[in-house]
């Protein structure tokens, strides 16, 4: 067991995966991850090309090119950086390149905010990237390595985004049990790309599609998303066997079995939510927690099954589809369509506003959609 910064825990997992090309551009709060990797390269711990590119657009482009040329890659970003690379983010998925990226979740401009919420990654919801949300440094460490296993599986061949709360996770020090080299070798086979740029066997990547084929290309990505579910579940299962750490692949459950009200929240806030659940129960409210870990592909049927018998489901979104409400709430409403459960969507914890136990208790008691931590007088 070691006490590690969240960013360091992520960087150590990346080092275990031995990517050969890393490209990154500085943006807070992602920077500590790539600083640690740059240090690992100059110290000789990691044999990789570290490309100090001039923008996130080029960071994504360089890992796209490197992945197509047959090597394992890594990049990391946050917020505006993720949006700046967004056209390439979509293209990486469309080209079925198994790029792995850490996203240190941060709010979007405007107004400018360097602090944590989930708006950046949520905005890439439809990009064709697998999205996993971690709650702790240990989980970020584990998922970051397993991300390569899922991305590179020949039945998947899709990029993976490991989402971690900016500052709250990336800059906090927590005890972490690092994966050993031997464990990593058991969990992650060497990269065997399906197709590569190679003069010995010339192939065209990124051809353009006429209406006669575009739909089928997009459908292939969607089917690969479905194929990712069992591969991802197997990877987490194997982690349990190899390292003894067992995660439910789809979501964490806490006191959910007899719950009359369920709180749904992703990321680090799900850790604090356990305390809010305990307090609510002390006050006579039979509350429970469901914290999604996998957001894309979205495990609708598993969530629907887990919430059977719950009367009220409160979804706390740390991002918003302006004019339409919470984004996760919308997914949960779809998943529960036809079920008697009533879904309430609350918005909280935007732009670094602290998600306190009190905030989460208020969420549990919410009866109508609301921005529960907003100060109305200042709007």
């Amino acid at each position: 067991m070691k006490v590690m910064e969240g960013s360091g825990a992520i960087a150590e997992a990346v080092i275990l995966a031995r990517p050969q090309v890393i490209a990154a551009y500085p943006i807070t709060p992602q920077t500590h991850i790539v600083e640690d990797l740059a240090r690992a390269v100059v110290d000789g711990r990691l044999a990789a090309e570290f490309l100090t590119v001039e923008s996130e657009h080029s960071a994504a482009s360089a890992v796209l090119g490197a992945s197509a040329a047959g090597v394992r890659t890594f990049t990391a970003t946050s917020s505006q950086g993720l949006l700046y690379m967004s056209e390439v983010v979509f293209d990486i998925a469309g080209m079925r390149l198994p790029v792995v990226m850490a996203v240190a979740n941060r709010a979007l401009s405007g107004p400018l905010s360097i602090w944590n919420d989930h708006q950046d990654a949520m905005t890439m919801r439809d990009s064709g990237w697998i999205q996993i949300y971690a709650q702790t440094a240990q989980e970020a460490h584990d998922l970051q390595l397993l991300a390569y296993r899922v991305a590179e599986d020949p039945s998947v061949s899709l990029p993976v985004m490991v989402c971690v709360d900016g500052f709250v996770l990336t800059h906090a020090f927590e005890p972490v049990e690092p994966i050993t080299d031997e464990q990593a070798d058991l969990l992650l086979p060497p990269f065997a790309p399906l197709a590569v740029l190679d003069p010995a066997d010339p192939k065209t990547f990124g051809a353009y599609a006429e209406p006669s084929i575009y739909t089928e290309a997009r459908l292939a990505v969607d089917r690969a998303m479905s194929a990712a579910e069992p591969v991802y579940a197997q990877a987490l299962h194997d982690l349990g066997i190899v390292a003894g750490r067992r995660y439910d692949p789809w979501f964490d459950r806490y006191r959910l079995d007899d719950a009359e009200v369920a709180l749904i929240v992703m990321g680090t806030a799900a850790q604090t939510a356990r305390i809010a659940i305990d307090r609510a129960r002390e006050q006579g409210l039979r509350a429970g927690l469901l914290a999604p870990r996998l957001f894309r592909p979205f495990p609708s049927s598993e969530i629907r099954e887990a919430l059977a018998g719950v009367g009220r489901v409160v979804v706390m979104d740390r991002a918003v589809s302006l004019g339409a409400g919470g984004i996760v709430a919308s997914e949960i409403r779809s998943a529960l369509y036809g079920s008697p459960a009533r879904v309430v969507g609350v918005i909280a914890g935007l732009g670094g506003r602290d998600v306190s136990i009190d905030t989460l208790e208020r969420a549990l008691r919410a009866d109508t959609d609301a921005w529960i931590d907003a100060q109305e007088a200042t709007t």
């Binding site: 490209a23 490309l51 923008s55 080029s58 796209l64 090119g65 740029l197 192939k203 006429e210």
Partner: protein, 304 residues
């Protein structure tokens, strides 16, 4: 040269397309042991309509503005895999001078091992002949039409060579398909070098410039012979060779054959504008030590 061209026949470019002539000359000169990263544009859409591809070398296209950065990633990966093959990034003038300029600058500044080839047809031809930063002064395009209150594009052509040279890359050259041996020699020279390299190829566009498709090579030749597009080579930011001609032609001869400049041949204003364009050609000639166009017989001692 290869009997088998590395761009296969059957691509979808317009007849007389200067871009496809230039690109085929270039890749044939580079040879089959080459990897290409291509920007969005005419070259991409005319050669890679899935499931067909005209490319007999490994080729990748991502988006409009990132050819240089994709090439940087490919180059790093090939190095990691121990594969020694030149990487060429290629883009049109939009993917070079405008939307691709930042990625190009980053690639040059970092010293990445990439040859960037810009195919300059002086506008956004793939989207219907709109103005780019590389469109020359006074050219009519669909976003800079000529009319009673306009003589076309109001801005001088962006000095890409100057911008690239400021990065002091290993090798810089200009070329056109009109001097095809010169173009191929420059590509062969460039692919044998390491580090960042840049080749700027002027490729006349019959549709966007308005000339008969049979005249592509002649139009390219006139661009060079009028001193509007000197052919040169630079190493480490310094000129090493500029192609010289004994008797340059007037810019009028070049402008007259293209409908995008037709408005310059009507009225007094047009004559003034043409004189202005001649003065830019003369300035280029002075800068590179080339002969200056003389409208009257040369007086002894005046030349040079």
């Amino acid at each position: 040269m290869n009997e088998l061209h590395l761009i296969a026949p059957g691509h979808r470019a317009c007849s007389g397309c200067g871009l496809l002539i230039g690109a085929r000359l270039a890749i044939d000169a580079a040879g089959p042991n080459t990897v290409i990263a291509n920007a969005t544009g005419c070259l991409e859409v005319t050669t890679t309509a899935f499931p067909q591809s005209a490319w007999r070398v490994p080729w990748i296209h991502s988006v409009f503005g990132n050819a240089a950065a994709v090439a940087t990633g490919v180059s790093a990966a090939l190095r990691a895999r121990g594969i020694d093959a030149p990487v060429i990034a290629q883009a049109g003038d939009g993917g070079t001078a405008d939307i691709g300029l930042q990625a190009l600058s980053g690639m040059l500044e970092r010293g990445d091992d990439v040859l960037f080839i810009s195919y300059d047809n002086e506008g956004y031809m793939n989207t219907g002949v709109q103005r780019s930063g590389s469109t020359p002064y006074d050219a009519a395009t669909t976003t800079t039409p000529a009319g009673p209150f306009s003589s076309g594009n109001r801005h001088p052509k962006k000095d890409l060579i100057g911008i690239v040279l400021a990065h002091r890359p290993a090798y810089v050259a200009t070329a056109t398909p009109a001097y095809h041996k010169d173009l191929q020699r420059k590509v062969q020279r460039a692919v044998q070098m390491k580090g960042p390299r840049y080749l700027h190829v002027l490729v006349p566009c019959p549709v966007g410039w308005g000339f008969d498709p049979s005249q592509t090579i002649e139009v390219a030749r006139l661009a060079v012979r009028s001193n509007l597009f000197p052919l040169g080579e630079w190493r480490d930011g310094e000129p090493v060779k500029i192609k010289k001609f004994a008797a340059p032609v007037s810019v009028d001869e070049y402008l007259r054959v293209q409908s995008r400049f037709a408005h310059l041949f009507a009225g007094e204003h047009g004559a003034k504008e043409r004189a202005l364009i001649q003065s830019t050609a003369d300035a280029a000639a002075r800068r590179y030590g080339l002969s200056i166009y003389q409208s009257v017989p040369v007086v002894a001692g005046q030349e040079g």
